[in-house]
């Protein structure tokens, strides 16, 4: 395999893995949501993310000798390229909302730009994705505001979540080698302009939610290169257990 196609596959894996792992995290809320409607909302969003990851894995499978199930269920931790923020545990509803908002505020401008990718299959996937991302962004931004501008306790909980998750946001804008190569090929969007839209949106919602912007701090990274947090092994164990125990199992 030449270096160009390896970069492309790594890049597609980064997008697919981020979608799958975030979808799996949201799916953990199934049957445990604070109220029925929000349980349904989180699992709906989860399904959108799993659907997105499938489109991306199916595309990767056409470029490699693999298939979507192998890619999702039989790779090891170090082979996953999702951002660390996606694997962060749910903790509570406030953490889940803050994690979702920070990622949706990134995904919305990101996939809007990706619609113009020189890779036509990726552009088509982005076209579908961005329509669904609009709902996710609205849902998560409204909850940021409800919780922030809510009671004393909800305010405190969402502020804590925001502060704790902040150190994982730097990675979104810190390009891996494969992203830089993909930008040169006009396949991936320019992270500088995405960063600008992201900051504007985050500042606007944080201010409307009467929350305080977290202080600049040291940023965690590594997910895009396969160096994950402790949480990653646990989520993969749960997600991959069936295929690992009963190889080739189908419904």
């Amino acid at each position: 395999m030449n270096i160009h196609s390896q970069h492309k596959i790594d890049y597609l894996l980064y997008l697919a893995d981020t979608a799958l792992i975030l979808g799996q995290r949201l799916g953990e809320w199934c049957g445990h949501g604070p109220v029925l409607e929000q349980d349904i909302a989180m699992t709906n969003i989860s399904l959108d993310y799993i659907g997105r990851s499938r489109l991306l894995y199916q595309y990767i499978a056409t470029l490699t000798e693999s298939d979507e199930d192998r890619l999702a269920f039989l790779r090891d931790e170090r082979e996953f390229k999702n951002v660390l923020l996606a694997e962060h545990p749910n903790v509570d509803f406030a953490y889940t909302v803050a994690r979702q908002f920070l990622l949706e505020a990134f995904h919305f401008p990101y996939y809007s730009e990706l619609k113009n990718s020189s890779d036509l299959q990726l552009a088509a996937i982005a076209e579908k994705t961005v329509k669904e991302t609009a709902y996710h962004l609205k849902w998560s931004a409204e909850w940021m505001i409800r919780l922030g501008d809510g009671t004393e306790i909800s305010h405190q909980k969402i502020q804590t979540a925001l502060n704790e998750l902040w150190s994982f946001t730097g990675e979104l804008f810190d390009p891996a080698d494969y992203e830089t190569f993909m930008l040169q090929e006009s396949i991936a969007p320019d992270l500088n302009s995405i960063n600008k839209s992201w900051k504007e949106k985050v500042q606007q919602v944080i201010s409307e939610a009467t929350l305080t912007m977290p202080e600049n701090q040291w940023m965690q990274s590594g997910g895009k290169q396969g160096i994950h947090t402790e949480a990653m092994g646990f989520i993969l164990t749960e997600m991959q257990y069936m295929q690992r125990s009963y190889p080739g199992l189908t419904w």
């Binding site: 709906n44 499938r54 076209e127 994705t129 329509k131 849902w139």
Partner: protein
């Protein structure tokens, strides 16, 4: 000799498993139909990326054509992305009768934060005195509403 009319008759018998009054034609997911010698080629497009009904729809399409021994090849295309603008008027009427409020207006406008949808009429009593409970419903394509007059909850097929 297979005709296009006959293919569409067959397609009309294949229903969305989650909204079993709408055919795949009503839904607007059939993008192209072509007859090549004895083979029928159709292009379909998914509604939502994570819609679990898509796989079942493909299986039901294959089954409907297999009954008449017509070889069928299905290709999934993603672009242009599906929109409720492609739903047939007949489909919207069927939805309404089934108790699901049909999508209103053209897709493509996204709502601002906390912005309310235009008034959605209750499919049971036609009152427009209704409110949204949640943007997300029992399937990806629906939102949850309730009627403030007859007090019944109902589904709204989102304009998407």
């Amino acid at each position: 000799m297979i005709t296009k009319e006959h293919i569409f008759e067959l397609l009309e018998t294949v229903l969305d498993p989650e909204v079993p009054v709408l055919s795949v034609v009503d839904l607007g997911i059939i993008r192209h139909v072509e007859i090549q010698d004895e083979l029928v080629k159709i292009q379909i497009t998914p509604t939502y990326t994570g819609c679990p009904a898509m796989k079942m729809i493909e299986m039901n399409l294959q089954a409907a054509f297999a009954v008449e021994n017509i070889p069928l090849s299905i290709e999934t295309i993603l672009s242009p992305a599906w929109t409720t603008d492609w739903m047939s008027e007949n489909g919207k009427l069927k939805l309404q009768k089934y108790g699901i409020a049909a999508p209103i207006g053209l897709a493509g406008r996204s709502l601002g934060l906390f912005e309310k949808e235009i008034q959605i009429a209750c499919p049971r009593c036609q009152s427009v005195h209704t409110e949204k409970i949640s943007e997300f419903g029992s399937t990806a394509c629906k939102a949850l509403y309730r009627c403030l007059d007859c007090k019944e909850p109902f589904d709204y097929f989102k304009c998407h």
